[in-house]
């Protein structure tokens, strides 16, 4: 699965979790630019990602995604690493 496929699937998850069909995310999208992407929304989204991609995130990884300056791109990289598409 390449980066575009991951973002495409993520967009479906984001639309559902944040209840907004007009969302069109890309690698630079941040929590500040998505309404309702708060701490609770973040975990709801991560649980949905885990379910769809059949992966698990660790505590340290989730903390990493909430650091200032992180965006969808960070998240996509993490998903790809877990799917084995990027060498760590």
């Amino acid at each position: 699965m390449d980066i575009h496929d991951v973002i495409k699937q993520l967009n479906v998850i984001f639309c559902e979790v944040f209840d907004d069909d007009s969302l069109d995310i890309n690698e630079t999208t941040t929590a500040g630019s998505v309404d309702q992407w708060d701490s609770f929304g973040h975990i709801t989204m991560i649980l949905a990602v885990e379910r769809v991609f059949k992966i698990r995130f660790t505590t340290a990884e989730i903390a990493e995604t909430k650091k200032p300056g992180q965006n969808v791109g960070t998240f996509v990289n993490m998903i790809q690493k877990k799917l084995g598409k990027i060498d760590v």
């Binding site: 209840d19 907004d20 309702q36 708060d38 701490s39 609770f40 975990i43 709801t44 991560i46 649980l47 995130f57 660790t58 505590t59 340290a60 990884e61 989730i62 903390a63 990493e64 909430k66 650091k67 200032p68």
Partner: protein, 400 residues
Amino acid sequence: MTFESPAMYVFLCFSFILLGSSSLYRIKQYVFLLLNIIFIFLFIAHPRLPSIVILLLWVTSHFLVLKLMLHVRAKRLVFILWLIINLVWFLVSKEYTWITRIFFMGHMYVWWSVLGYSFILFRQIHLSVNVCDGMITDIEFLDYFNYNLAFWTFLAGPIQRYDDFIGQWRLLETTKVNDHERIKGLNRMLWGLIKVVAIAPFFEQYADIKTFTALPNAVNFIILLMSFPLYLYLNFSGYCDVVIGFARSVGFKIPENFRSPFVARNIIDFWTRWHITLSEFFRDYLYFPMLMFSSRYFNALASSVAATFISFFLMGIWHGNSLRFAVFGILHGAGVGAALLYTEFLKKVLSKEKLKAYKNNKIIHIIAVILCQSYVMATFLVFKYPMKDLHQLLDALKGH
């Protein structure tokens, strides 16, 4: 030595010159380690030498545990064992007698100084989780000790993450601090000092329940309600300005800890503005793991409320060994839980447009800020005063 004492600023001048003049990266690291140990020696209460030895033994033992975790497969088991032992050590050292006497008979006499323990514990937990989860794959002796004992965040934070700290150190190797940055840092430090020594004490003098009980009227109650939170904010944010400003003057960035907390419109918003690095720590290492685990089996919203409540209860306990800090945590947990439920309720009953209009409505915003700040300030009464003083306060309010 105290934070307000002139000796502190002599030490900072000395550090400014030494850190600025050591051009070699490795030397700078050793100079920093030496400064950290001198700082702790100057600040720590008597008995100094045994207290420093105990502190260094504690920190060294954790360093060895991390090294062990990096080399064994059963990382999680080592982590759990370390966490249990470390939490017991922390509770005993900080004399949490109302907790420890549930498990042990009697009370252990702690004769050594426990300065800096609360914040070292956070840094250790953060490091341990990240090593356990494979986010940190190597750790050097100098990096570890400088991170844990960094004098600018040793007393009361802000809680900097390890990768951020190391990243800042590596930047020192390649970049030179310009005069503009130095002046901005020193300016901030000066402003912080003014807050700590001149403005905060003005509010502190009014944070006295006896002044209110002597003359209980509405004006005195409002003064009592506002004076301690304002004092605490000015004192703590002033301290943060001093350490952030000083670090900036030598080319090092420390995360911000405050962002206008008294304009928060609900308790969730408040904790994104007040002691930010502390709430982020509890969010990342307690709230998130609990919510992740619980949401797999139970309703997500109910899980979030429960995780919030437990996180704030523990955060309250961390603030001090008296029972009233636990009550403070419970009150804030209830406040955040209520805000969370109310937000979800609004999402359900209002359309997207109406929800946006609700959030942007200025009158609703002002009312929300007043309600939120009144609640926050009332909870700080519990934080500040022992129960017998609060009883006196309640009696005076009833009488009035």
